[in-house]
């Protein structure tokens, strides 16, 4: 950063660019960039792959020369390592496959069934409840009492809205802090009356708004994580579309976390990751692959419990059938959880998250 940019503004800028870590709202920005990128299509992609191939050839040649040199010193070894790392990067660019990105597109398909579409098809006697009792009601996150095969349940989920007017009203499904607080209030009420909680997740990511920060979206998310971990009723979560970062997790600390076949779940959007790591949003396919965001990836990493099959071509091709498949999965998992006595339920939920994502080794010193 140039010295002239320092001072208070400069500080904010530095922190915003904190290396290799991210804050949720990179996402929304990247959605805009993605639209631009998509209009440039295949020609760009081919060109970029060709460029990568050319650079790969050059770097490999350079590496071969370096390695052939006799009597390598520290600096030469460091250079060799750098080049090897670059070669790995270029190879992935040349051989990138688009499966993960296609899933991301399906997960965001404009006709994909949303939370309210599923609620309408899977539950009966839906009575929505509103408000966080502190600031307001958040239409981006809906909560309500409902019946599932006759059983009383609490259902909540993020709702993106269908047409333009609805999407504006629901803030594109990006909750404000009061949404998370309403969700927690609903879950505590379910706990009081011993009703299972079902959460449906379809959220792009964090809310990049002034109000969301002023009213403490971080605190609201954090509190939900802690309270869901010890809620004394069964919780089943389904990632139905996009599982975007902390905004998704805030309603996804559950006994069973299920994922629709074409849903994605990630710490950042592919575009956001591409713009930070590659500094190029058109590398979104690469980022999608690298981040491992598909249902199968999550299942392999042990971060989701089961995958719910979708109609061929995706849930949007047959929403009724998609809802039936969701219904069957919910029924199965709720029945299994109902058999567990309460203390055991909470202990196993704890153990599940305690042992999840333990990817480290002990280095002998």
């Amino acid at each position: 950063m140039r010295p002239s940019q320092r001072g208070v503004r400069g500080k904010a800028e530095t922190a915003a660019r904190a290396p290799l870590s991210l804050d949720g709202a990179e996402l929304l920005l990247s959605m805009v960039e993605a639209r631009w990128a998509s209009t440039n299509g295949d020609a760009r992609r081919m060109e970029s792959q060709l460029k990568s191939q050319q650079e790969l050839d050059k770097v490999e040649e350079h590496l071969a020369k370096l390695e052939a040199l006799p009597g390598q010193n520290e600096e030469a070894r460091r250079q060799i390592q750098e080049l090897q790392s670059r070669i790995r990067a270029l190879r992935t660019q040349v051989t990138v496959n688009y499966d993960a990105w296609h899933k991301a597109e399906l997960a965001r398909h404009p006709q994909r069934p949303h939370t309210l579409d599923y609620i309408e098809r899977v539950f009966s006697d839906w009575s929505e409840i509103h408000g966080d009792r502190g600031f307001g009601d958040d239409p981006a996150l809906v909560c309500g009492m409902a019946r599932f095969h006759g059983q009383e349940v609490m259902v909540l989920g993020t709702e993106k809205g269908r047409d333009t007017k609805q999407r504006m009203y629901r803030n594109f499904g990006l909750p404000n802090p009061e949404g998370y607080r309403k969700a927690l209030r609903a879950m505590k009420m379910a706990e009081k009356f011993s009703r299972p909680v079902i959460t449906l997740v379809d959220v792009t990511g964090a809310n990049p708004g002034l109000g969301a920060e002023e009213r403490g979206q971080a605190e609201a998310i954090a509190r939900n994580l802690r309270e869901m971990a010890r809620l004394e009723v069964p919780i089943v979560t389904v990632i139905t579309g996009e599982g975007g970062s902390g905004g998704a997790l805030a309603i996804a600390v559950a006994d069973r976390v299920l994922m629709m076949e074409n849903a994605v779940y990630s710490v950042i959007s592919p575009e956001g990751c591409a713009s930070i790591m590659w500094r190029d949003t058109t590398k979104k396919e690469l980022a999608a692959q690298a981040l491992r965001i598909t249902a199968r990836d999550l299942s392999e990493l042990g971060c989701v419990d089961a995958i719910i099959e979708e109609p061929a071509g995706g849930a949007h091709t047959d929403p009724d059938r998609a809802a039936q498949l969701l219904d069957a999965a919910l029924e199965k998992h709720l029945a299994e959880l109902a058999k567990l006595p309460l203390p055991q339920l909470v202990v196993s939920r704890y153990n599940k998250f305690r042992t999840m994502a333990r990817f480290f080794r002990i280095q002998s010193s």
């Binding site: 500080k11 530095t14 949720g24 990179e26 920005l29 990067a89 920060e213 954090a222 309270e227 970062s245």
Partner: protein
């Protein structure tokens, strides 16, 4: 790649970020006055002219809080296995190796057992110069183990945050650390052992949206950037200038998100007083 080099070039050996040294002199980023480096260090890396708090590293933080700079480090041998085998312009494994050799740490946190005014405490101090203090599987596990130490020994827990958030190169694995740590904090809460969260510059993203906001007390150093979404992104999304001091400690205090903003020199006395309230026999 120049982007990352620029970042690391900003950190000098002491870990005091953005302190540009020309021999014995330092220029303050905030008031732009020239200060003796020795004066700055004696003043705990707080500008003697304008009270701007320079960033300090995890070891300096432990020295500041723990009696006689005496403490026992635990769980310092956990190393990331690169679960996604992540490669962007560079392999994550080589970024990790570089950060390890630059900081002498295996990841972005130090767990320590020590005493704070004669009272045993557990401190987890995050290291911002290790890949932006980002949280992946190792930071998540280390902090969870620190919480478990507190549950087991009943020693109060202090976590000092300095982090840009979740570590992107560990993808959803890093996201799940938020849930794991928050679940462990629920258990700590249930056994009524104190937990004080100290937020320092910067604390953003998934760290703020989990343990940093879950203390019995959440306190921050003056002028620290604290938030979930980053200021640059918010500005670009809403297309207007952010209000003065947005997402700084004082802004959060005003909006009811912090219990106190505590200058570095008063941090240890403040913590000690709070722990008296929480634990002293009546």
């Amino acid at each position: 790649m120049a982007w990352f080099k620029r970042q690391s070039a900003d950190v000098d050996a002491s870990g005091a970020k953005k302190v540009r040294t020309e021999g014995l002199w330092v220029k303050c980023d905030n008031c732009r006055q020239i200060i003796w480096k020795k004066d700055l260090e004696e003043n705990l890396n707080v500008c003697p002219k304008c009270d701007h708090h320079f960033r300090i590293d995890a070891r300096a933080r432990l020295a500041l809080l723990l009696d006689g700079n005496q403490y026992e480090i635990f769980d310092s041998n956990l190393v990331s296995t690169d679960p996604l085998n992540f490669v962007d312009l560079k392999a994550y494994s080589s970024r990790l190796a570089q950060a390890q050799s630059e900081t002498g740490l295996s990841d972005a946190v130090i767990n320590a057992r020590g005493k704070l005014n004669d009272r045993p405490v557990i401190v987890s101090a995050m290291e911002y110069s290790f890949i932006g203090g980002s949280m992946g599987a190792v930071v998540g596990e280390s902090i969870t183990r620190a919480i478990e130490q507190s549950i087991e020994t009943k020693a109060p827990l202090i976590i000092v945050s300095a982090s840009g958030g979740a570590r992107m190169m560990e993808g959803v694995v890093s996201l799940m650390q938020l849930a794991k740590i928050s679940a462990a904090l629920a258990r700590l809460d249930e056994v009524r052992v104190p937990y004080i969260s100290v937020l320092t510059d910067p604390t953003t993203g998934g760290v703020t949206a989990s343990f940093a906001m879950l203390g019995d007390l959440n306190i921050a150093e003056p002028g620290a950037l604290i938030g979930f979404a980053g200021p640059r992104v918010i500005e670009q999304t809403i297309r207007q200038k952010l209000p003065q001091g947005f997402q700084r400690s004082e802004f959060l205090l005003e909006h009811g998100m912090l219990d106190a903003v505590v200058p570095r020199r008063q941090m240890k006395p403040y913590l000690s007083r709070a722990l008296d309230f929480m634990t002293r026999a009546a």
